[in-house]
Symmetry: C2
Subunit: 190 residues, 2 copies
DNA sequence: GTCTATAAACGGATAGAC
DNA sequence: GTCTATCCGTTTATAGAC
């Protein structure tokens, strides 16, 4: 088995299991059974569980950054918001998983310090991106944002994360559409 | 040690540990160390972990119902909403914990079926209550709700749950105030 | 790189004494 | 009710052969 493939497989399954069952809900044994290698081989790539966790979180963050940067900068603010929500809705429809950062944030007290920091960074980056887009929308006149921009951005991201949780809980991806109709159309779009 | 006291202690610590570290993040051993009894004594009250989990969830649900019913029915819709959000904000400020149902929903795939149902019931009950209050607000003319009432109720509860997660993540209870200013004042209150 | 073998602690759970 | 003692599988991790 090619090295990169094994390492990649480990990280893919680890991410999925965390999103499905939480940080404390999977083991090296689970991974070894899924991939078809021994647990000691996983330790070769990730000496301890925290190493694996950090690698998975950082890769998730990096991919999110790439997805965000791929959003056409020339779009209007409300178009950017629709693309942004749709990225999350599509990801949910394809995988039936909540956000990795939300899954980890739920187990906060059991996270290694470094991971906790990475989760905070992810949340902050999303909120900052949303605040920028809301600001653009106000400038353009295409969005109406009552009150503070940062407040609106934080509430919007909280609603997005919460909607992913309920979409999975009720096995109903329409919950993500709720978000578009309610939070965005209602509050922030004219 | 009085029986009811021991049983109560077990359930209190179990609920707290689930809210802090997730369902898979605590053990009978953790509980026994915290309370000062042996793990076999815990098995006397709750033969298996699922029994304990179900008891904790049902108690949490019952207390929520009591708190909701204690809200003065004669209040205006927007006053009810403010009391409702304040119940959650106060609970967070006092305990630094997210909602038990949200903590369990994050570990969904690892939950026993009965617990999954109880978590769904809790979410549904909150959404139904919110939808009723929004409906009252529209009737009174004190709330402006764009689009479907059920949609607005679901988004509002998702934002509430998500805000609790970030309030803890950033150790900042103002996140709950964000919700009042943004989601309620902005979207639903005139 | 992957394996076997092993370690030491932890996990939920039970039987039976007091 | 709570304890001691015990069961047996799990979990994370390491050492060393191949």
């Amino acid at each position: 088995m090619n090295t990169e493939t094994t390492r990649t497989q480990i990280m893919q399954h680890a991410q999925r299991l965390i999103q499905e069952r939480g940080y404390n809900g999977f083991s090296y044994r689970d991974l070894s059974a899924l991939i078809g290698i021994k647990t000691s081989s996983i330790h070769y790539y990730f000496p301890c569980k925290e190493d694996l966790l950090l690698a998975v979180v950082q890769q998730y963050y990096a991919r999110w950054q790439a997805a965000i940067q791929a959003i056409d900068a020339s779009l209007s603010a409300d178009a950017k918001l629709r693309v942004y929500v749709d990225i999350h809705r599509q990801a949910f429809c394809n995988t039936d998983r909540i956000c990795l950062a939300a899954a980890l944030a739920a187990d906060l007290a059991s996270l290694p310090t470094g991971v906790r920091q990475a989760v905070q960074d992810f949340y902050r980056a999303n909120e900052d991106w949303l605040a920028q887009v809301l600001e653009q929308g106000v400038r353009e006149g295409s969005l109406r944002v009552p009150g503070d921009l940062g407040t609106a951005a934080r509430s919007t991201f909280a609603a997005l994360q919460g909607s992913l949780v309920t979409a999975r809980l009720f096995n109903n991806s329409d919950r993500m559409k709720d978000l578009l109709q309610g939070a965005l159309s209602g509050r922030e779009l004219e």
